[in-house]
Amino acid sequence: MTSSVILPTINLMKYIATFYTHFGAFSFNRRLEKLGDESVKLIAAPRKISVSCGTAVSFSLEFNPETMADEDTEAIYLVEDDIFTLIYHNE
């Protein structure tokens, strides 16, 4: 992988998305790959922020609900030094 050499964007934010379904996680992951986020990956949902489906996605492209979220997306958190800030929630 070349991601350690070429940074994908100047945006060094880290986000974590949680989902109502695994399908939501897989779809989100794929959408972010298409949008060019090289850091996107499926992870086990951090215990702190989710009791829904056990799979989450970490990514670093700036979050845009229009192009990224769908109805299976539960929430998006901004992660800074282990502090999770909720920036998007879909009831």
Binding site: F26, A44, G54
Partner: protein
């Protein structure tokens, strides 16, 4: 934070393993100190949903586990009534997971307790369980989904905890309402309050840690993330140490308590339990915990377990120490077929195509 998660999962696993052996020493059946499938089956018997006289007892462990998860979720504000993700399909999956578990003679929790007591049949079951989870993960990757949940009325979320309170009162009141076995596994009981309080504490930490035996293998296979897996391993290690210390470890296939030696009918039913648990999003224990936190889909799954357990004994599908039954073998195959049909029917191609 990751480290804290890991510690919590491992502590939960150790507590489960220790309680599993401890409750057996205090009176619960052999290698069945704590078993979700068996104990829901016993509860189905206590409610006279089946009339197998040897397995009737409203197990306080089930009540405690649900109420522990419920109480802690109120404290941590994680009690969230949600549901609506293909409830009938979840009921059917619960039904067939239970039937499969009772052909093997145990849920994933008892499987590990049996493994830790030297029951080699359970190791055969483990192979099946892993195969089942692996198959389930392939469906997840193909876009399997039962659909998302939505917010529900708080009363729906309170229903299962309320039922458990009623059951607890009926249990304490003595044998007026509920059936209780006079002999057999159902008559082997750890003291009510010890079992209940221990399960209550485990319900609390299981909710906090999100421990799930299916999740352990699923995350390991799908995400290469081992943290839930360590919880399952911790159950094994604690139970092994306690069994060795108590002289309850015997390495063999034959003559293990409440177990049979037909390898195929230990293997295949656990494929179904693993596969079905992935399709449900959690092993039987996790469903109990989620149900306590207001998850209606898990509550529906529990009713599937309960009815599946009743069918198992009403139609002689459950195995015994003598082995599996013809009906049980057919039901195992039918369970796998139904799970495959559900897996395909709910897979959408667009996820990873």
């Amino acid at each position: 934070m990751k480290k804290k998660n890991l510690i919590l999962v491992v502590v939960t696993g150790l507590a489960l393993g220790a309680a599993g052996v401890g409750l057996m020493l205090l009176g619960n059946p052999g290698n069945m100190g704590f078993c979700i499938a068996c104990f829901i089956r016993d509860t189905a018997g206590a409610l006279k949903l089946h009339t197998a006289a040897v397995v009737q007892y409203a197990r306080p462990e089930i009540i405690g586990l649900i109420l522990g998860a419920f109480l802690i979720s109120l404290v941590t504000k994680e009690f969230k009534p949600r549901g609506g993700s293909s409830p009938l399909t979840r009921f059917m999956l619960g039904f067939f997971v239970m039937i499969s578990a009772l052909v093997f003679l145990g849920c994933p929790l008892r499987m590990v307790l049996r493994m830790a007591a030297g029951d080699l049949n359970a190791w055969v079951g483990l192979i099946g369980f892993i195969v089942g989870v692996f198959v389930g993960v392939q469906f997840l990757k193909k876009g399997y989904s039962l659909g998302r949940t939505y917010k529900k009325n708080v009363l729906e979320g309170l229903t299962m905890p309320a039922i458990q309170v009623v059951l607890l009162i009926a249990l304490i009141a003595g044998g007026v309402l509920l059936a209780v076995s006079a002999e057999g596994p159902g008559s082997m009981q750890a003291p009510i309050w010890i079992a209940f309080l221990l399960a209550l504490v485990i319900g609390v930490i299981a909710q906090r840690s999100r421990i799930c035996q299916m999740g352990g293998f699923r995350d390991l296979i799908m995400l290469k993330d081992p943290h839930l897996f360590w919880g399952g391993l911790a159950i094994f290690v604690a139970a092994l140490i306690f069994n060795l210390a108590a002289g309850k470890f015997t390495l063999s296939f034959a003559d293990q308590p409440i177990a049979h030696t037909e390898w195929l009918w230990n293997l295949l039913p656990m494929v179904g339990v693993g596969f079905g648990s992935v399709l449900l999003g959690g092993c039987p224990m996790r469903q109990l915990v989620l149900s306590g936190t207001g998850n209606i889909d898990s509550t529906i799954t529990l009713f599937g377990f309960l009815v599946g357990a009743a069918f198992s004994h009403n139609f002689s599908l459950a195995s015994s120490a003598a082995g599996s039954t013809p009906g049980g073998r057919i039901a195992t195959i039918v369970s796998l077929l139904v799970m495959l049909i559900i897996g395909f029917a709910y897979s959408r191609k667009s996820a990873n195509a």
